[in-house]
């Protein structure tokens, strides 16, 4: 397996280069927690356009992408900066000014669509939703129970992202993935997407994975490629490595010229690249 190893490990810029303009990306994590933010920033640096962003609870990531004008459409459950930061301002503006298309979900309906893809079926029943105006908005259909036992049940069409993009604690040389604490919706995203790309805090030995295989969230054969970016979930948290960098989020939210570039330049993956060039 050692031969596969080097093939899968890429620089963050080469990893981002796998994603073309117009691609649909399911982003892992939730709000400010364990999001694949280094990859998101690298997509912006590379000028990616027309992306479709799929995530139950985006925040910083979708806001940043909207601020950079990289988004065509988002399919999301709940969008906010969270903590005490409230709404995501550039996302909000992009929707209010109709610069991006929004497919508004409940988190569980988005999960249902991902499950349909993961299970290889065209639609997935979901509990609840009755009485919500989201039904008409999205054209969701209710199906009668053909067995006559249950109430009419809404079904969500399959959602199949081109890429699932995760930030994780550890990756094996061959691409096995491990996270600590909650996996959020990362698991179902990796089963629904066409390809899985990963940013990890560090490489852990194959041996360590073989010792506790029960902890592996994504087996290596599902991982297309990965990059190692310590601190890559900045300014968010990556349990148990680091907490949210609240001052950095506050600085990001300032609405002034140069703030976006300064923020991108302050990111760990940018500083690392700079350091490498010295």
């Amino acid at each position: 397996m050692s031969t596969t190893t080097s093939k899968k490990q890429l620089s963050i810029s080469d990893l981002a280069a796998l994603v073309p303009d117009g691609a649909s990306l399911a982003l892992g994590g939730s709000f400010l927690h364990r999001g694949p933010f280094a990859l998101v920033r690298e997509l912006i640096r590379q000028g990616r356009k027309d992306l479709e962003i799929i995530k139950q609870s985006p925040g910083y990531d979708i806001d940043l992408l909207c601020r950079a004008g990289a988004v065509r459409r988002t399919r999301a459950g709940i969008v906010a900066m969270e903590g005490n930061f409230g709404l995501a301002p550039w996302y909000r503006k992009a929707v209010e000014q109709q610069q991006i298309e929004l497919e508004e979900h409940a988190c569980a309906t988005l999960t249902a669509g991902l499950r349909a893809s993961a299970f290889g079926v065209p639609f997935q029943p979901v509990g609840g939703v009755h009485g919500s105006a989201l039904v008409e908005l999205n054209g969701w259909k209710a199906l009668d129970d053909p067995y006559g036992q249950g109430e009419p049940t809404y079904v969500i069409p399959a959602i199949k992202p081109d890429f699932a993009v995760l930030h994780v604690n550890e990756v094996s040389p061959d691409g096995d993935v491990r996270v600590y604490g909650t996996s959020h919706w990362d698991r179902i995203m990796t089963r629904a997407a066409d390809k899985v790309i990963v940013v990890a805090e560090r490489v852990a030995s194959e041996e360590s994975f073989r010792t506790q295989p029960e902890l592996t969230l994504v087996p290596h054969f599902m991982t297309t490629a990965y990059a190692i970016v310590p601190g890559g979930a900045w300014p968010g948290s990556c349990w148990p490595e680091y907490e949210v960098d609240y001052p950095a989020v506050t600085a990001y939210l300032e609405d002034a010229p140069g703030v976006l570039d300064a923020h991108l330049d302050a990111a760990p993956e940018a500083r690392e690249t700079e350091a490498a060039h010295v």
Partner: protein, 244 residues
């Protein structure tokens, strides 16, 4: 009990009072006050219940109280990771006893809007969106929400958009506690420092107030629990809750 009962303490304490013995209670994202309420219930009440949260925690032992109610510290020293798919399924199959959900607007049927102020397609304010509500509100055994502002802007006759239906079991504002009765919101109690008339005047929908009384003051255990959770008053300052 101090000289006055702050709106912040009123909301947290009355949310905590929805927690019942042996039940499974959930708090989610953008939900600092319910998070504090769940932690308060663990400290103030002499019964067992299971506290699960959006960080995957199951009866965790967090080393600090986080600003973000989805912070991974809420799964610290948890006995299990019960991640998002799992707790949503628990809810849709009818096993979530109590869940706390956010809302921007609430109507008299206990429905919520978290999507937009103004027309959805050309919103004045784009709100966070569907989140847990549309699925959890109709499927949880009881769902409760809160508002830090009690006004005809937040408690409305007509929602700008019906994000979630199904009927809230409880709503807590800085001055009132509503519960579900005959599939509508009814007043259960009001803040002892305001009047029933003020509650009515500041509420956009009609409600039944039969049997409603001033809310019982916080117990010493509730006061102590909240003080231990917010010793410097930072959460109270951040929440910016005003009675009037």
């Amino acid at each position: 009990m101090s000289e006055s009962w702050s709106g912040f303490s009123y909301i947290v304490t009355n949310l905590a009072r929805f927690v019942r013995p042996q039940e499974v209670t959930f708090s989610g994202v953008n939900s600092t006050l319910p998070m504090l309420a769940c932690l308060m219930a663990k400290r103030a009440y002499d019964f067992e219940f299971t506290f699960i949260n959006v960080a995957g925690g199951v009866d965790p032992q967090p080393s600090m109280i986080p600003i973000s109610s989805s912070d991974p510290v809420l799964a610290e020293r948890s006995t299990a990771i019960f991640a998002n798919e799992d707790f949503y399924d628990l809810c849709t199959r009818g096993r979530m006893d109590l869940c706390f959900l956010g809302a921007a607007q609430i109507d008299g049927l206990g429905r919520t809007n978290v999507s937009s102020i103004g027309d959805w397609h050309a919103p004045k304010v784009r709100l966070p969106g569907g989140g847990g509500g549309a699925v959890m509100l109709p499927t949880a055994r009881r769902a409760c929400t809160w508002r830090t502002e009690h006004s005809t802007r937040t408690l409305v006759e007509k929602l700008d958009f019906v994000t979630a239906a199904g009927g809230l079991a409880g709503v807590v504002t800085p001055i009132a506690v509503f519960i579900k009765r005959d599939d509508k919101l009814a007043l259960a109690s009001w803040h002892p420092e305001v009047t029933l008339e003020e509650v009515k005047a500041r509420t956009g929908f009609d409600f039944d107030a039969t049997g409603a009384t001033p809310t019982p003051l916080p117990t010493q255990e509730e006061i102590d629990a909240l003080r231990s959770l917010d010793p410097t008053g930072q959460f109270e300052r951040d929440a910016k809750v005003k009675l009037h």
